[in-house]
């Protein structure tokens, strides 16, 4: 509680400062202050014992092996971790520690103030090409518990460095799927396959599909080239994030999103 007040006071002070320097500074992005250091989420060993700890651990299992622990609500074999790397901990892949403190928030997509539960439902319906999990069910509760635990110690209402996906500056040349295909063949196909189908080890997905029937659908965040380009820039090729030039990230994103994938599901 005290921590929250302190954070609020700090933000207030920053806002005052911004106001003093003139309204030009107060863009939509700057409304929430950006912190400068990367937040480090608590180590896994610190998940508490007991009922609440069990809920957190169950959330982690759903997150890393979604088809196994929440298969009723998924329409593909991706897991949450396919896009939110290192079990939802890695900066610049919309980590859970960044998410918890940002909700409830306004989203343009549906012109509503969304709760974290509703945001997670969104990833189930679009990114996982599945169906909305009940807001009060154990699946969502566990995921929220996992997210809450991971954000322990993070200041509230602040745009944490490394949270969400990255927005790259507009590219010099308009993103081009044809140039993107060359990047894909040279840098991505080794793992994701020439046909975008991904690769399997002993029946489990090792490298997830990036298009085709097993991929995210046309309602997903990654179906926006800008969002996908930011993710690719910071995270792909796996273990070589930030090595791809921006233009290539845009182009390969345009290529991936030009390929066939499941349609956007009809509104609820």
């Amino acid at each position: 509680m005290r921590q929250k007040n302190e954070a609020a006071r700090r933000i207030f002070r920053i806002l005052l400062l911004l106001a003093a320097f003139g309204p030009a500074f107060i863009t939509a992005r700057a409304m929430a202050a950006e912190s400068n250091v990367l937040f480090s989420p608590p180590p896994e060993e610190s998940i508490p014992q007991g009922g609440f700890g069990d809920l957190i651990r169950h959330g982690e299992k759903i997150f890393t092996r979604t088809a196994k622990y929440a298969g009723r609500y998924t329409g593909n074999r991706l897991s949450c971790e396919s896009c939110h790397l290192d079990r939802g901990r890695k900066a610049y892949s919309a980590p859970l520690w960044g998410a918890y403190v940002l909700y409830p928030r306004y989203r343009k997509k549906n012109h509503k103030v969304n709760s974290l539960a509703e945001r997670i439902q969104g990833c189930f319906r679009f990114s996982m090409n599945g169906s909305a999990t009940p807001v009060d069910g154990r699946t969502i509760k566990s995921l929220i518990a996992y997210s809450f635990w991971m954000s322990r110690g993070a200041p509230v209402g602040v745009n944490l460095k490394g949270s969400r996906m990255v927005s790259l500056p507009k590219p010099e040349k308009a993103p081009d799927p044809l140039r993107g295909k060359k990047v894909y063949v040279a840098r991505c196909a080794l793992c994701h396959g020439l046909g975008g189908q991904g690769r399997v080890s002993r029946g489990e997905i090792a490298f997830p599909p990036v298009w085709g029937p097993g991929s995210y659908n046309k309602g997903a965040g990654f179906y926006k080239v800008a969002k996908l380009a930011g993710f690719i820039k910071m995270n792909m090729p796996l273990s070589k994030g930030t090595t791809l030039p921006d233009q290539m990230a845009w182009d390969v994103a345009a290529y991936i999103d030009s390929q066939p994938r499941p349609d956007k599901p009809a509104p609820k």
Partner: protein, 226 residues
């Protein structure tokens, strides 16, 4: 005598039922591959693979010669070619595979990709502390240093992701250590996009030892039979 004839006939009969029938040439490719493994390709000075990898591909932990049984055909062939080109670190292998033709490589790769054999016995028992650390790195990675979990690229428990990500589970420790060092110090340069060089370089000496001990403590995939 009869068994000698009936055996292969039964085998090929079975084969034609359980899988796509192989072109006739493949059978002889298998035979030629086995011949190279057993006796070399006949060129003067060519050493039989079995001298170091054993006939069934189990390798020799005592000299750090790798297990190759059941690695994919593409991976085995690729590594031999990279040794020939000098990109793959291969101080021992270089002289041996120098005069293998494309056809020889195809044949011996096919043969060893189908070979099955139990794990060769390690020279020393592993340290449990190192195995525990290795296990953690293998399954969680060290993301602070941008190292993903090894199993993300080497498949479930290190059993490989066909065709080009080799299995490392059940591989011998000396060999694993040597490769990690060779990548880290940029002597082995055949890894696509430098993926393994980057990772091995970011591991500390102690961490390399830990992962080598962990993966060598596991059982290899397809150790016996199919």
């Amino acid at each position: 005598m009869r068994i000698a004839i009936v055996g292969p006939v039964l085998c090929s009969l079975l084969f034609s039922f359980v899988s796509i029938p192989l072109p006739a040439r493949a059978e002889s490719l298998m035979d030629w591959g086995k011949h190279i493994a057993e006796a070399g390709n006949g060129d003067p000075g060519n050493t039989a693979c079995m001298e170091c990898h054993r006939l069934k591909g189990g390798g020799m932990p005592s000299i750090g010669s790798p297990r190759i049984a059941g690695q994919t055909r593409q991976y085995i062939a690729r590594e031999i070619r990279e040794v020939q080109k000098g990109k793959r670190y291969g101080p021992v292998m270089a002289g041996v595979v120098e005069n293998l033709s494309e056809h020889d490589i195809d044949a011996v790769a096919l043969y060893y990709s189908r070979a099955r054999t139990p794990k060769a016995r390690e020279t020393e028992p592993p340290s449990s502390a190192r195995v525990a650390l290795g296990k953690k790195i293998a399954h969680r990675g060290i993301w602070k240093k941008n190292i993903p979990a090894c199993v993300q690229c080497h498949g479930v428990n290190g059993s490989g992701v066909p065709p080009l990500f080799p299995y490392i589970a059940g591989q011998n420790r000396t060999y694993l250590m040597r490769q990690l060092i060779a990548y880290a110090f940029l002597e082995r340069k055949d890894d696509p996009q430098g993926l393994m060089r980057g990772i091995a370089r970011r591991l500390s000496a102690g961490e390399r030892k830990a992962v080598a001990e962990y993966f060598s403590s596991l059982n290899p995939p397809q150790a016996n039979g199919r």
